[in-house]
């Protein structure tokens, strides 16, 4: 076709990711994370774990945890359910890639555009995070990950480095509201 390819917009409705530093906190939209959900089929849990082991280098994580290996991270999101994440440029059709790997041991959906992803970094993020969600974030260590509620929005929070680096996934359609909350809280503690 002679028409140009369609150009994507970020969840915040921009052409490029928005990255801001407020005080000691940097909030950056991460638009290059491919996300796929993985749900074990009934009775296929062990087969699934065996198939996914080479990708993760480890077994699928337990509740409250994430496991990362090479460029794929797995996060527990529910009973027999995980989110797998990987860099989008290298994995443009990540869900199909995973589905091909796990075959009928698991159900896979594309979740890449279901979420807005914010990477939040700073020397001490606890004062920010305690304004946002009810988790005891100061007790979270690298690899801890859980669902949480932020301003009525069901989010997923991953600790990459204790107190210093977190990744937050929120519902894409509410990206602007979630961003407003993050920025307001960051200014409030700056």
């Amino acid at each position: 076709m002679s028409d140009p390819l369609l150009a994507p917009l970020t969840a915040l409705g921009m052409n490029a990711p928005m990255i801001e530093t407020i005080g000691g906190v940097t909030i950056g939209e991460n638009t290059s994370l491919a996300i796929a959900s993985l749900s074990a089929r009934k009775g296929k849990d062990q087969e699934l774990r065996a198939l996914i082991q080479p990708v993760l280098g480890d077994s699928l994580p337990q509740p409250g945890h994430a496991i990362g290996a090479r460029d794929v991270t797995a996060v527990w999101t529910g009973v027999d359910q995980w989110f797998l994440m990987a860099p989008l440029p290298e994995h443009p059709d990540f869900a199909a890639e995973i589905k091909a790997l796990v075959a009928d041991t698991a159900s896979v959906t594309e979740q890449t555009d279901g979420w807005v992803v914010f990477d939040i970094t700073g020397a001490n993020l606890i004062p920010l995070l305690e304004r946002l969600c009810s988790l005891d974030t100061k007790a979270m260590m690298a690899g801890d990950a859980t669902r949480c509620l932020i301003e009525h929005l069901g989010c997923l929070i991953l600790c990459r480095e204790s107190a210093r680096s977190f990744t937050l996934l929120g519902p894409r359609s509410s990206a602007a509201s979630l961003h407003h909350t993050l920025v307001t809280a960051a200014r409030s503690i700056a």
Binding site: L5, L6, P8, K42, R131, R172, A175, A176
Partner: protein, 985 residues
Amino acid sequence: MSQKNRLGGGLIDRNQPLSFTFDGKSYSGFAGDTLASALLANGVRLMGRSFKYHRPRGVFSAGSEEPNALVELRGGARREPNSRATVAELYDGLQARSQNHFPSLTFDVLAINDRLSAFLAAGFYYKTFMWPSAFWEKVYEPAIRRAAGLGRLSTEEDPDVYDKGFRHCDLLVIGAGPSGLAAALTAGRAGADVILADEDFMPGGRLLADAGLLSDQTADSWIGKVRGELASLPNVRVMPRTTIFGMYDHGTFGAIERAADHLSEPPADKPRQILWRIYAKRALLAAGATERPIGFENNDRPGIMLAGAMRAFANRWAVTAAKDVVIFTNNDDGHRTARDLAAKGVRISALVDCRADAPASADFEVLKGAEVVDSRGRLGLKSVKVRLQGGSTREIACGALGVAGGWNPNVHLTCHKRGRPAWDAAISAFVPDPNVDPLLRAAGAAAGIFSTHGALQSGMQGAIDALADLGRRAGPIPLPTAEDAPVNVAPFWHVTGGKGRAWLDLQNDVTIKDIRLAHQEGFKSVEHVKRYTTLGMATDQGKTANIGALAIIAELEGKSLPEVGTTIFRPPYTPVTIGAFAGRSRGKEFRPRRLTPSHKWAEEQGAIFVEAGNWMRAQWFPLDGETHWRQSVDREVLAVRKSVGICDVTTLGKIDVQGADAAEFLNHIYCNGFAKLPVGKTRYGLMLREDGMAMDDGTAARLAEDHFIVTTTTANAVSVFRHMEFCRQCLWPGLDVQLISTTEAWAQFAVAGPNSRKLLQKIVDPAHDISNEAFPYMACGEITICGGLRARLFRISFSGELAYEIAVPARYGDALIRRLMDAGEEFDVVPYGTEALSVLRIEKGHAAGNELNGQSTAAMLGMGRMVSQTKDSIGRILAGRPHLIREDDYRLVGLVPVKPEDTLLSGAHLMTVGEAAIAQNDQGWVTSAAYSPHLKSSIGLAFLKSGDKRHGEVIRVVNPLGGSEFDATVSSPHFIDPEGERLRV
């Protein structure tokens, strides 16, 4: 202006003078002052007028329990009524105004109420403003509100921001007096995660207010050391200016931090207050105690205050209310006040002690077995009348009277979960029930332990015990040597024999007589007395008033105080600003908004948006020259029927259903069959509730043997998903089925109209044939568009026209609608909004939320035969209840007014022509109505009894609310293409 009542010493910073105004007049104070202490320093005793009788009033306490000194703080939009002067930290430029008077504080015409007091007794409002009832809202309430003592709101938007947050700890210590400090230090040294919260801006509690409590070091020095050590411990967070206002379930506490109330305005972007939810594994209540007054005639004049407050003003703030003071007490603590004041150079004209065995003093005259029975001084105390032991009276001139009636432990938080306090006869006060909650202990004065030694020790022990519960060891720590005086108090609540009014509740102007009258009129329970007399209501919740009233009820009932009991203490402990509860959720950030992938594009088109749940949906797209919404909507509707239109339908719920048993699962969920739906096909489905009523409708598309996409209505996206998860996990856990929402992941557009296929063929990649033969009505499939972008295509229609829904990953939604609009130019494509969507579906006779309101059956919707009887599905059995399958039940019909000028409105009721328009004759109601530009008429959908058999009948449409009544013709609900031919071309 000189501070004539300023004494030496104190914890104020004399190097930091501050100026402020009260009722427009300038005064000066120092950093560390409260508004109350600074006003007293300047000789201002009169600070306000009382609620009901407009009696002159001054400051009564030195803390958050203050009933009297309520002022309007700040100006402009920041004006804050009913602020307690005793907790308002002084800052430079502070503005305060007294409230509840006209025209001025010293001359108030409404003080006439005081003369009319005989008519304004308990229950006055209940007795007086009974009839006519039409006067309640328009006459009585405004008049009462104007006369009653409430400050004025600014009525402007609050310019400040408020925040909220969540904190976790092992031990929450509530109060930073001696017991709280000892507890925090004990737990802090043991490495526990500690939060120490105190409502004051300075830690220390009574250590700041009383002199000489510690003997081996000064209180200042010990507080300084503890403060420094707590600040150095990373596991301890000290939260000054923070009130723990409520205890809730599972160790959850509400706290309000006044982050910037001590500044004239908060720094830019910084919150004025922060509402915290604190999750504590254990908590220690070290909230101290509140002193109580003794009732006597005219005990409310400015200058009459709690003795302990007088002592706090002298020691902490270096202020006295007057140069010459009388103390009236029933316990040894009153003597402490007299001693401290005398040591500061204040003249103690007399100490009146009701106990015959009161201790003597070398520094001042002690009148044993005597009582203060009355006072004089219109705008401020001039003298008190004392009845001496022998019965003779003596008038003693004084500018202030300190009243010491004993202390009440601040048990409030221990009662928030319905605990009732226990009576401790040794101190004549209610103390926390030790078994109230295993998470919450009390220490120090809050536990009824009034000596400083006892406070320090019980604070430390409380922390040790709390941490032991958590399996942590905490050692005893060295504590300062402190006074350990016993409590020596004679229960004495009010003097007797007076004829005038003795106040119990200063804030609500409730007198001893009011309580007696209420009792006489049959109000015996404390809860009833509270509501009848207003005792213990409003901002102070009777902290200084309740116990005196309980004592009177006990006397009248011939019961003991513990038998009478207290009213229930509820959160909040002290008032919390509504703005703090709202936090960041205000204005358009009141709740999160959901934006569709085409939102930005729609904004550029000047779309008018409507809220649909949290979604913002384009309602219509006005063009230049269109001045009425109907012009835009009619144009959009006609354009869809004539050629092609595009609508963002991303908001419809999308539930991905996978698994070997996915088809069986859907077969149970939907009342119609899904087991045999071929791959590549979509089917309309109706879900019933267990009770057989229609729950939601939508489509399910089969992408593979083990893969379906279920769509729901926008409104029910979450509830349907929840319902399906419940079914999956609880009803049929044996089925292999997995569910997940993909609503947000895909941008989805309806492309509808006779030219929709031609338009789509321009963007769908050539490898995918979407001709009518290859991709017939109800087909679905995964395709690529625009040179390789993966997409999903569904041939479904809500409008009744040839139509498709196309989905792409959400980030491409914006680009897709732009591409479709460009590609559709040759077909005069239009975007259409939810209004046109609604008109199109009403014309087609599709049910939507108005028809699926929880009261409709499949049969009512004309889908009775869809409920499969050959398989089991949710709601099948109960849908067959005799009443629900009556032939004469309501059926969905169409309506067209007989006269074109009549307009159908949803909600109107239907009556058979010739019958009276009364409820018994009701035949049904209009559910949806619209103007159909296609039919050039108002049309409606309605539920009508036996409606399927009444097509062609003329019926009355009655709208008693709007006052209209006209005839309409009953028709099929399908105004457009009833045979469905357009869908299949």
